[in-house]
């Protein structure tokens, strides 16, 4: 049963409402209103300007990495290198090595060996020019869990701080970007600032990222990290061998993550975490090469995928060697 509501025509109000000022009438109130309006307009202009006040025109107009070619790319790299020289007083080289043909990187992590010493975490920080303080950014997070309960994230501890490792009854589970073959972060990114390269590395163009953090919500491994402020990186600790998509120092307000040390891997070198691990728990190589350690791991060890039910198909494999 619908309620019928009377429908009068446009009303004649019972008392006269305030009539709009006619021209010439009481300009003082007018101007006060206009001044308020102008102030508000100025305030919003300031607000808009503040957010971008430290961005030069070149930076603003810089294209997506995939569209940078030839001379334009050289100019961008030169500008970035000069900026680093000015800030840290060091000459750097920013490379743009492409993926090699016939290479699909694979990473193996032996959790029967990891002792939780965190040397990988800090080797990565050193190699990849991560911010040391405010924020402190670690691309690798090591979880301490009970052997009796297996991989039980609800009871994992990332802030373990004993005198020695490994602690009895515990095992250690480092997590970093899994370089998924079906990456949820790439799907979520609204600007295509992150994508998967041919050799499997999921990369980020730090100068294209808008810092919306959709990718961080989408990542099931907590592998992506945000530069909440300008990085604190002391002079003298800068690693000058850089890659545009890898370890060049990132600006504030963008997302960063493990890139399998793209500046090393694409030049044939092991990643920093692989090289520093004292127990040899980390294996890295070309999955397409039958002689590589990682292939041997896949063929002979019990390998498993972290959060396999999410069908991300990572290129990062955990295994038990014994």
């Amino acid at each position: 049963m619908t309620t019928q509501i009377e429908a009068p025509s446009l009303p004649v109000p019972s008392e006269p409402p305030e009539r709009p000022l006619q021209a010439g009438e009481d300009e003082a109130r007018h101007d006060e209103g206009r001044r308020t309006f102008m102030k508000l307009a100025a305030a919003s202009g300031v607000m808009a300007g503040l957010s971008g006040c430290s961005v030069s025109l070149d930076e603003f107009l810089q294209k997506h990495f995939k569209e940078l070619k030839g001379e334009e790319l050289k100019k961008v790299l030169a500008r970035l290198e000069a900026k680093q020289k000015a800030r840290w007083g060091q000459s750097v080289r920013i490379g743009t090595e492409a993926a090699q043909e016939g290479v699909e990187f694979g990473y193996g992590l032996d959790i029967s060996r990891c002792v939780g010493c965190r040397r990988c975490v800090y080797a990565c920080v050193q190699e990849n020019n991560q911010s040391r303080e405010s924020p402190q950014i670690h691309w690798i997070r090591v979880l301490e869990m009970d052997k009796a309960h297996g991989v039980d994230l609800a009871h994992a501890e990332v802030y373990y701080d004993p005198a020695t490792v490994p602690q009895p009854g515990k095992f250690y589970f480092p997590v970093q970007c899994q370089q998924c073959r079906n990456p949820p972060c790439v799907k979520a990114c609204p600007t295509q600032a992150t994508w998967k390269e041919k050799d499997g590395i999921v990369v980020i163009d730090y100068d294209w990222c808008i810092g919306c953090r959709c990718c961080m919500s989408a990542c099931p491994y907590g592998a992506r990290h945000f530069t909440f402020a300008e990085p604190t990186l002391p002079a003298g600790e800068l690693n000058p061998d850089q890659h545009y998509l890898g370890n060049r120092p990132r600006p504030k307000g963008v997302v960063e993550k493990c890139t399998f040390c793209i500046q090393r891997a694409r030049n044939g070198r092991y990643t920093a975490c692989v090289e520093v691990c004292p127990v040899g728990a980390r294996k890295f190589g070309n999955l397409l090469d039958p002689e590589s350690e990682i292939r041997k791991v896949m063929e002979t060890k019990r390998v498993f995928i972290f959060k396999e039910e999410l069908a991300t198909h990572p290129q990062f494999y955990y295994f038990y060697a014994s």
Binding site: P135, R213, G253
Partner: protein, 408 residues
């Protein structure tokens, strides 16, 4: 062209004229905006580290507010359906005021997004042609698309109605009707797309539930019109727009049914989580009961539920909703209840515990509060300005001069 310019000039004059209460209200809004600008200046200079957003909880207060306001924007226009179904007299007025609220809410949504972005200077990277939007895979591009379409649609309808009424012409129903009808699916789709943004994240089991999109629509529908009810009452008194008591009470009744549906969906969600009791229960448990010593949100969870149920009771019992004090109390309660449910209750538990099981308890900082206050200040300012222009046009006291109307 001169007609439009004159219209705009007259609008400006309209906005800058008013009584003491009006200017006090504007002053209060200006203060709020000033607080916001100060907060934003701090954030722009130092980066988002001045918030309590961290890697573990990477979306928080700003996005919670954004989500709530998208719901408000969507719901405001849904008054159109009952307005037509129940033959409310001043349908045009009801539709228009709803759209004004939608426009203000959308402006606030945009501002919250800008506040949350790490690099707002790079917003253009998301636009087609000059940027590289990840369309159609990224839900955020869909969200941006639908919200902008909705905004343009609302601005078009509002602008058209106002300009025609200002020039003493009846807006052409053949143009208006399709646009207004179109705004209904568009408004539902804005909030559905926003729900899908959360829903699609397999990494966050709390959101990765099919029930999320229906819950969004239900909670939007039951809370959005609350502001309208208060606005209608204010405008009845100050500008004489003839909105009948029955209309207001009908809206309250419909909100009660929407709230019932909302509570039903909540119950369904809680059953699934607590009965199946998988590891995914962690997030729901954190929100309603806390985990160990981490209980920061528990009081908000139960408070929000109490407010929602109380509002439901007030709106569903005819005797209660006929009492103006109770009705308005109900509006405040429902607004508060859904604000918490959509903000704290949706965003934070999605991240707590995080993907690696860590619990970081998030509370907004002073800067975040400042910016939120500023954004609400801007939103209410826009609403005030629009209402200040629209209502006199609709009631006939703000019209073009005879000479101006003859010039086109």
């Amino acid at each position: 062209m001169t007609g439009i310019l004159q219209f705009l000039k007259n609008c400006a004059r309209q906005v800058t004229t008013g009584g003491r209460a009006y200017f006090l209200w504007l002053a209060a809004l200006a203060c709020a905006i000033a607080v916001g600008v100060t907060g934003y200046a701090n954030q722009a200079q130092h980066g988002l580290i001045v918030t309590n957003i961290r890697d573990q909880v990477s979306w928080a207060f700003y996005i919670g507010n954004f989500t709530f306001l998208v719901g408000v924007a969507a719901a405001a226009v849904l008054l159109v359906i009952p307005a037509y179904v129940y033959h409310w007299g001043p349908i045009k007025e009801v539709v228009l005021l709803g759209e004004l609220l939608a426009i203000s809410a959308l402006a606030m949504c945009l501002l919250f997004i800008m506040a949350d972005m790490g690099r707002p200077d790079r917003l253009l990277h998301m636009t087609p042609i000059i940027g590289s939007p990840n369309w159609p895979r990224s839900l955020l591009t869909w969200d941006a698309l639908v919200l902008n379409v909705y905004l343009v649609l609302n601005l078009t309808v509002v602008g058209y109605i106002l300009y025609e009424s200002y020039n003493r012409r009846e807006p052409n129903k053949k143009i208006l009707f399709p646009l207004v009808i179109l705004s209904i699916p568009v408004s539902i789709s804005t909030h559905t797309v926003t729900a899908f943004l959360y829903n699609g994240m397999a990494a966050r089991p709390y959101w990765n539930a099919s029930i999320l999109a229906p819950r969004f629509i239900a909670s939007a529908f039951c809370s959005g019109p609350a502001v309208m009810l208060i606005l209608f009452q204010v405008l009845r008194k100050t500008a004489g727009i003839p909105i009948k008591d029955e209309a207001i009470r009908k809206v309250a009744e419909l909100m009660a049914y929407a709230m019932f549906f909302n509570l039903f969906l909540l119950g369904a969600e809680l059953f699934k989580e607590f009965y199946s009791a998988t590891e995914h229960l962690q997030y729901t448990k954190y929100y309603w009961f806390g985990i160990g010593s981490h209980t920061a949100l528990v009081k908000y969870a139960w408070g929000s539920l109490a407010a929602s149920v109380a509002a439901f009771v007030i709106f569903v019992v005819p005797r209660f909703r006929e009492n103006w004090t109770l009705l308005n109390l109900g509006c405040l309660l429902i607004w508060a209840g859904v604000y918490i449910e959509k903000g704290l209750g949706l965003v934070i538990p999605g991240f707590t515990p995080d993907t690696l099981g860590e619990i970081y308890e998030y509370q907004p900082t002073l800067t975040e509060w400042s910016i939120a206050i500023g954004v609400f200040g801007v939103g209410f300012l826009i609403l005030t300005v629009l209402v200040k222009i629209s209502v006199p046009i609709l009631t006939g006291t703000f019209k073009a001069q005879e000479a101006a109307s003859a010039s086109h």
